[in-house]
């Protein structure tokens, strides 16, 4: 997980991938695939589709390794983003049944003493949001809910969902960048 790894190691491996180093790519896969697979699975909710997302994401990571700029983004966030976009593309293309899905209260609450300081900061910022707004942000990011799916789930007009999300994102940015 993020907290056990040095961003520098990941950035170095991605740099090696840009030179076509398959051994570095293998190492990157070993380090990150379990987390990225879990992230994809939360979004697509089907092991076969999660496999597709992770497969496509790693191919893209290997091929676009040269375009990753460590001075602009962190390697962890970049790999998560590539995987999430693939998973979201799959879910939007295939559609999915969301009725009857129980709303998770929050993200996993398993206590992790090593939880990265950055995550704790984000958690504090999320706590500034009302409970339903916080749920919407987490359901969108972690579970891949779109504006319209959130509108169905919360039985709220689409416009209201959109403005709640925008206000929440503004609050989060102000808090994190402070």
């Amino acid at each position: 997980m993020l907290e056990h790894q040095d961003h520098g190691d990941l950035a170095f491996l991605i740099g090696r991938c840009a030179n076509g180093d398959r051994g570095a790519f293998r190492r990157l896969y070993e380090l990150r695939s379990a987390h990225l697979y879990a992230i994809a699975l939360r979004i697509v909710r089907h092991p076969g589709l999660a496999e597709d997302a992770v497969h496509d994401a790693f191919i893209q990571i290997f091929k676009n390794a040269g375009s990753f700029d460590p001075s602009r983004g962190n390697p962890e966030a970049w790999m998560i983003s590539v995987t999430r976009y693939r998973a979201l593309d799959i879910v939007r293309r295939q559609g999915r049944e969301i009725t009857g899905v129980e709303l998770p209260d929050e993200t996993d609450q398993s206590p992790d003493p090593l939880r990265h300081a950055e995550s704790r900061v984000l958690e504090r910022c999320l706590e500034l949001l009302e409970i339903d707004k916080r749920r919407m942000v987490v359901l969108a990011f972690v579970d891949g809910y779109s504006h319209s799916e959130l509108s169905d789930l919360f039985k709220m007009p689409l416009g209201t969902v959109k403005s709640w999300i925008r206000r929440s994102l503004t609050t989060i940015r102000r808090c994190l960048d402070a």
């Binding site: 997980m1 939007r92 993200t107 398993s110």
Partner: protein, 242 residues
């Protein structure tokens, strides 16, 4: 549709959060390469929000994923070594002589291809029973194997595209279906084709008589520019089947 006079910072945030509709996602992606402000806003939000995903507990992935990744990379290597560099079609593709030459050559192979397919597929009536329109074609390379599709237009404007022979394509590419109306030069996207089964397009509002259909190889999720950017695999014209 999203409005780019809107705050680009907020559009970037919504894009990264993943709440936007597919059309809006495609618009954002098409602008990322040229819009440095948007790209930097997206990178900023990716960094901020990625921390949310660190709460997801890792799950060991099935072992075959790595094997498939390796196989895909090797297939790409083989493809790169065995074929001349692919022609990347510019946006002005519709004026390109090569494009039309390829499309014409492909449509010449159609009549024979359709006859073979109809003969070899007595179950075709189940496909045809779903639709009421008389226009059909087959997209085949004119060989006995290789990628091929049976196409039938419905009376409601939708077009049914059934995979007969799946196409081999690099794992990071998708096959995109395009239509060009007779007398027109601009291909209209009808979406990304699945690897198997029957794909049904929306009603693109195009006349079906002599509608030219093309399949091109595009980046995953389809062309970012709204026009074909990769090589055209195959093409054919819809003709009356009755």
């Amino acid at each position: 549709m999203i409005d780019f006079s809107d705050d680009p910072e907020m559009l970037a945030a919504e894009y990264v959060l993943g709440v936007l509709a597919p059309d809006d996602v495609a618009v954002i992606r098409s602008r990322l390469a040229d819009d440095a402000n948007l790209a930097s806003a997206v990178a900023g939000w990716e960094k901020r929000l990625a921390r949310l995903a660190s709460e997801v507990t890792p799950i060991a992935p099935p072992l075959q994923i790595w094997e498939q990744i390796t196989a895909s990379l090797e297939a790409d290597d083989t493809l790169a070594a065995s074929t001349p560099p692919k022609t990347v079609m510019p946006d002005g593709l519709s004026n390109s002589l090569a494009f039309w030459r390829m499309a014409t050559a492909a449509s010449l192979a159609l009549a024979a291809g359709l006859a073979i397919w109809l003969f070899a597929n007595p179950n075709r009536t189940t496909i045809q029973a779903n639709v009421a329109g008389p226009y059909m074609t087959a997209l085949t390379p004119g060989q006995s194997n290789g990628p091929s599709w049976a196409v039938q237009a419905g009376a409601d404007g939708k077009i049914f595209v059934t995979t007969i022979g799946p196409a081999a394509k690099p794992a990071d590419k998708d096959l995109q279906l395009w239509a060009v109306a007779r007398g027109d030069t601009k291909p209209v996207s009808l979406g990304v084709l699945p690897q198997s089964g029957t794909y049904v397009t929306g009603d693109a509002g195009l006349p079906h008589a002599h509608l030219l259909l093309l399949v091109s190889i595009e980046p995953k999720g389809g062309s970012r520019t709204g026009r074909p950017t990769g090589p055209v695999l195959i093409g054919g014209e819809l003709t009356r089947g009755d």
